[in-house]
Amino acid sequence: MLTPSFAGMSDAILVEGLQKRFGSNTALAGVDLTVPEGSVLGLLGPNGAGKTTVVRILTTLLAPDAGRAEVVGIDVLRDPGRVRSVIGLTGQYAAVDEYLTGFENLEMVGRLYRLGRRESRARAGELLERFDLTDAADRPAKTYSGGMRRRLDIAASLIARPRVLFLDEPTTGLDPRSRLAMWEFIADLAGGGTTILLTTQYLEEADRLADRMVVIDRGRVIARGTADELKAQVGGQRLELTVSSAAELTDAARLLEPLAAGDTHADEQTRRLSVPVRGGTDALAEALRLLAGSSVEVLDVGLRRPDLDDVFLTLTGHAAEDGTDDREPAGRTPAETAGSAR
């Protein structure tokens, strides 16, 4: 898979100072990122952050206003044709021809890659089998569920075995079962040496799949690193407990006061108390001792490291999911691809 490239060129994707405006709306205000060959980069951000714009520029669908972008050492502006021959793209909308059957969809893409009719058909059959679509192979894609369309879409982007794969929100609109299967597949693919750039709004997804992450918001990179590095930026552990009634929150907070290393946060709706602590499991044991003699009924207690939601909240001041949706008008809302998942 690793092919000798230009000297020192170990990055499969290189982006420098990328800028793009749509009218008065700045989609990208200077984005830099690199993805080493064979690794997975998670590009995170709320709707409208600029994730899709980055993908569209790297896949030659859109020209940037300024900056440089290379895929396996090939400049996307100067030589888009060669870039297209080494990439695979799965966009936000399952890009399958609804009137064609699953098999015909794959055969068409295979033939466009000049695999030849026989080879295209052979690969289409194999891919359908591996993606659990054999039973639906001869049905028009119109009849597929959201999860099936997504699988077909990804199969189409793999038929010519791309060195670099772009997945733009690959699990948006999928039900939890399909999402798990998709995650497993993406992880396996990465294990096989394919370089993957994955955009997502789901922090759990990036945490699970990506080697490294770049967080963008309003067209700028606001953080980058491994999941652990990002979490370390936010701070240490928290003791979290859920009590049986909201009234008990005050008591619990008072009892645990001696352990708190910062501001304690109580949420009445979820009846949950969150206390920043030091000392790990010792703090947990101490907390249980303090609560043992009291009237507070604890339903759940645990020590939690910050997750990417905390990271996002700390970095941007708003949660990952509540960005306003002002993405470029390239197509229709992802909700459209959502609906019909089994």
């Binding site: 749509f22 569209r56 896949t59 030659t60 669908l61 859109l62 020209a63 044709g81 060669r82 297209r84 021959s85 080494v86 990439i87 793209l89 966009g91 936000q92 909308y93 399952a94 890009a95 399958v96 021809d97 609804e98 009137y99 064609l100 015909e104 068409m108 033939r111 466009l112 890659y113 000049r114 690969r123 194999e126 891919l127 591996r130 993606f131 659990d132 028009p140 699988r151 793999l158 038929i159 010519a160 075995r161 079962r177 399909s178 798990l180 299967a181 995650w183 597949f185 992880a187 396996d188 693919l189 294990g191 096989g192 945490d207 699970r208 799949l209 008008p329 390239a330 197509g331 229709r332």
Partner: protein, 282 residues
């Protein structure tokens, strides 16, 4: 790489090793050349016809309806008898029917854009115009089918083509050339407008004056002078005259020349304009 949970997902996850094995380990193949890629896209259009034969409904029913309405409703008044009117009118309605259905090429392309299929196609290493050329060529098959329907109906209504089989074939051939060229107007609109409905609306606005402002229905000699001069430069009038000449024998070479010139001009102007939009489309 983050470790995966040990719990197996309920859906059968694809076996990646097998997928990679299935895909083979050879070099990625070279992309298709212009002709092969266009042929593949044309094949796609034909598959769509095969799976959704209903889309042939407007291709067949609409021309039949128009032919019957005009022949029986106006035939007597316009030409003295139904029989006489069919001789004059049928080549014209053939042109009208085919030109009307060319607009579905643009509607289909705009639908592709909305559904994201367009992005997938643009990310493939193929000759860029092939997606459009292929779609237009695939549609030529639909146009041929509609031509057969209209001519068949015409014969049943009493059309007597003096030009014989050769004349009919030449007439349909010329019509298809012009229809292919006109298709570039719709592909251009499809890339400029946001919805398939808008593409349809604009197409009608172009097609209505283009076809009715011609010599399809009546002889321009009956029109006021200013209108007649408009009708006489309309490329559709040349097309209709040429098709009439080929069907009945005794075609005016100048009409054929004008049609070919217009077709070449449409492709020469709108082809590059369309492709510029195609590349730039965000």
């Amino acid at each position: 790489m983050t470790a995966l949970d040990s719990a197996p997902p309920p859906l059968a996850a694809p076996d990646t090793a097998a997928v990679l094995a299935a895909l083979g380990s050879g070099e990625r193949p070279r992309p298709q050349g212009p002709l092969a890629a266009s042929a593949t896209f044309g094949w796609r259009t034909l598959l769509r016809i095969k799976h959704v034969p209903e889309q042939l409904f407007d291709v067949t029913v609409f021309p039949v309806m128009l032919t019957l309405i005009f022949t029986y409703l106006f035939g007597g008044a316009l030409a003295g008898s139904v029989e006489a009117y069919v001789q004059f009118f049928l080549p014209g309605i053939l042109v009208q029917s085919i030109l009307m259905i060319t607009m579905y090429t643009g509607v289909a392309l705009n639908t592709d854009i909305g559904k994201g299929v367009f992005d997938r196609i643009r990310s493939l290493p193929v000759w860029r115009p092939s997606a459009l050329v292929g779609a237009l060529l695939g549609d030529v098959v639909r146009f041929t089918l509609a031509s057969v329907v209209v001519l068949g109906l015409g014969m049943a209504l009493g059309l007597r083509p003096g030009g014989g089989v050769v004349g009919l074939l030449a007439a349909v051939g010329l019509l298809l050339v012009f229809a292919f060229a006109l298709g570039w107007v719709w592909t251009y609109l499809a890339l400029r407008l946001r919805t398939p409905q808008a593409v349809m609306g604009w197409s009608m606005m172009v097609l209505m004056p283009l076809t009715f402002g011609s010599n399809i229905f009546v002889d321009p000699a009956t029109m006021p002078g200013w209108l007649r001069s408009v009708v006489e430069v309309n490329p559709v009038s040349h097309l209709v005259s040429a098709v009439r000449g080929l069907v009945h024998g005794g075609v005016d070479g100048a009409d054929v020349g004008w049609v070919l010139l217009w077709a070449a001009a449409l492709v020469a102007v709108l082809g590059p304009l369309t492709m510029r939009r195609y590349r730039a489309r965000a």
